[in-house]
Symmetry: C2
Subunit: 395 residues, 2 copies
């Protein structure tokens, strides 16, 4: 048989999804699985969006424009204006989720062998999306002990192949929200060396301490070096619809991304239909959600910190934390929880941490936890985790 | 500013979509534009699919499985069984349109610099999707004079870098349906040299002469060399929904495509919801559509053949034809039609042919025409085209 591609083989299985068959098997045995492995919020999709489906009365489900429907584009331009980011229409491209925005932005800016610096641990899919494009991720180590702070001096990471920095802020998977000083250090670095700054801000509203930090799009000095990745998935609990956007003032990147967008014809129509209703949401739409997640965060982090040997930083944003567990192999532990453990008919699914690190060998005793269930379920899930750790280490 | 990527710059603008701003401007001037530039059928999406939207009653628009919802996967497995192709579930992956299936298949099989042989002219987006991945397309010339027949001897195209052949059958953009002999020559070639055969069969049911040809999936000898790209867009008039699939018996390609699929989380949920209703369609669903397109084809081809200096082959399938026009520059002509011409308040938009050729310089006096409007509109569109050609050459 013909050989597989090296790049295809370099794409790792998703640490978020690869244990799903074990979860399915557990469910088939009658075990209820608390899914803390995936950032799938249980927050209801706004009714005004779901109702939009019922109002669809076209006879033909036709292609939409490659850059998005007029209605969604207006909604997104309004949203950005509302967060202090006036945009011209050609600076925004609607994408099939944030994933496609990352793919388009990276492909338009970077060639095979180009290096992108990414704080490690990182959103696991960056590793896969970069591998497909042959882009080299050089991890910038951050650690749980100081809450995953960024370096204030990026110069040691500069090499001739470095072409950009990719930040996720608030961070998936750590929950870190970067300070003005941390961000300024990155901004100075990319300007000094004329690099791209890719900013994944899909959790922009999910910040639990202090005021919402401004988008990097409000930093004029970044100019055409900035490429912002955004998604409606978490903001409006629209994960399954698949809609996001790419925002940049770099006309070359915008035009390149548009040519890539034309090659896939259009973003999904119904996702755009739902997303376009965001303007109908009340101004305080996020306040309640934010408060919900703040309480959930505290339940999870308090429970983790009470477990012997667990190390975790209290996240300031997003709805994840990374936790170091007192286990030899967090993936073996995650499998154990699905295959061999249950407590009162329940178990907890977590994502093995290794897959969130680009640096080989890191994260093997860590897991990523998404606090996306209600408070009662989270308490049960944490109790399962606590007992599971005991059982695993006594097995 | 940082440089753009070479690969991004190598992605051409879509010949199908790049003149859309001119069409919008014409419409703003009150001109009705007959869109023969894009394969957007006017056939109604089946009501059973549109009605499915109204029945959606989940409170959360959640991620679906990376490989597709169970309901759609069952529907597709049934569909394939119905065309004589029994599949195991791991041989089918649901994708975000056929475009993503091409991207996944190519990425899993081919590295930068690998060569794929593709009959020229070809579906324009192959050129873009290959450019993103650094895959080299080597065009295999076909020509209007013999109805775009394939070579029966592929050996002259073999070089050490050739790793596969990509066929679109029925062909977009030529409408050619390949004979058993033509296909056997390709099958023998890929088996002899252990190459991949990528088969884009999204127009499988759109064949106007003789019985429907069997899918290449019915050729056992191809084994794990075959990767089939499919889409529900044309078959069920679901273009805007964005749903298709990748089918292969190659376990390595299937696994690689699944890892790529995990990196984009899931295909669009509502597209899958609609697609899963295909099982509810009557057995003769395609018969009426096929008859509709056969009549449209004849209207368009008869009209084209009656125009002085126009060369066109009568297509056997899909809903496109390539036509050579008596003009110096078909793109300039297409622009002229939108910018400077109208007849009784109407004009016709066609796709310039050059963008459908990977071989530089070919197709400059050709256009692609999609016969996707009703018979009355097609007659008007052809009359506009006839008069537009006269006006262009007399300007």
């Amino acid at each position: 048989m013909p050989t597989l591609s090296a790049r295809g083989l370099a794409v790792p299985p998703s640490p978020i999804r690869k244990l799903v068959p074990l979860a399915d098997a557990a469910k088939a045995r009658g075990v209820k699985v608390f899914h803390l492995n995936i950032g799938q919020p249980d927050i209801e999709t706004p009714a005004v969006m779901r109702d939009a489906l019922r109002s669809f009365d076209e006879k033909v489900v036709a292609y939409s424009p490659s850059g998005g429907t007029d209605a969604l584009r207006r909604t997104l331009l309004d949203y950005y204006a509302g967060i202090g980011v006036p945009l011209s229409p050609d600076q925004l491209l609607v994408t099939t989720g944030g994933s496609e925005a990352i793919h388009f932005g990276m492909a338009a800016a970077m060639d095979p062998g180009d290096v992108i610096l990414v704080p490690d641990p990182m959103y696991a899919n960056y590793i896969s999306l970069a591998a497909v494009l042959g882009v080299t991720i050089v991890p910038v180590p951050t650690k749980v002990e100081d809450g995953y702070r960024l370096p204030l001096d990026w110069e040691p990471y500069l090499t001739p192949k470095v072409k950009g920095v990719l930040l996720c802020n608030p961070s998936n998977p750590t929950g870190a929200v970067y300070s003005a000083d941390e961000l300024q250090a990155v901004v100075d670095f990319v300007i000094r060396h004329d690099l791209y700054l890719f900013a994944d801000e899909v959790y922009r509203e999910f910040v639990y301490e202090g005021p919402l930090p401004p988008s990097l799009l409000t930093v004029p000095a970044l100019g055409d070096r900035l490429v912002v990745v955004d998604s409606l998935s978490k903001r409006y609990s629209l994960c399954g619809a698949r809609v996001g956007c790419l925002v940049t003032r770099n006309a070359g990147i915008a035009a390149g991304a548009m040519r890539l967008a034309q090659a896939r014809l259009s973003p999904p129509l119904f996702a755009q239909l739902l997303g376009s209703k965001a303007t109908a949401l009340a101004a305080d739409y996020f306040d309640e959600t934010r408060e919900t997640y703040r309480r959930r965060r505290d339940i999870v982090v308090d429970a983790l910190q009470a477990m012997p040997g667990v190390v975790v930083a209290r996240p300031e944003g997003a709805f994840y934390c990374m936790a170091r567990l007192p286990v030899d192999d967090a993936e073996a532990f995650a499998r154990f929880m699905l295959e061999s453990f249950s407590h009162e008919g329940h178990t907890t699914m977590v994502a093995p941490g290794g897959g969130f690190y680009a640096q080989e060998g890191r994260g093997r005793d860590e897991v990523r936890i998404a606090y996306v269930l209600d408070e009662g379920e989270l308490r049960q899930a944490m109790e399962c985790l606590r007992l599971g750790l005991e059982a695993y280490n006594n097995r």
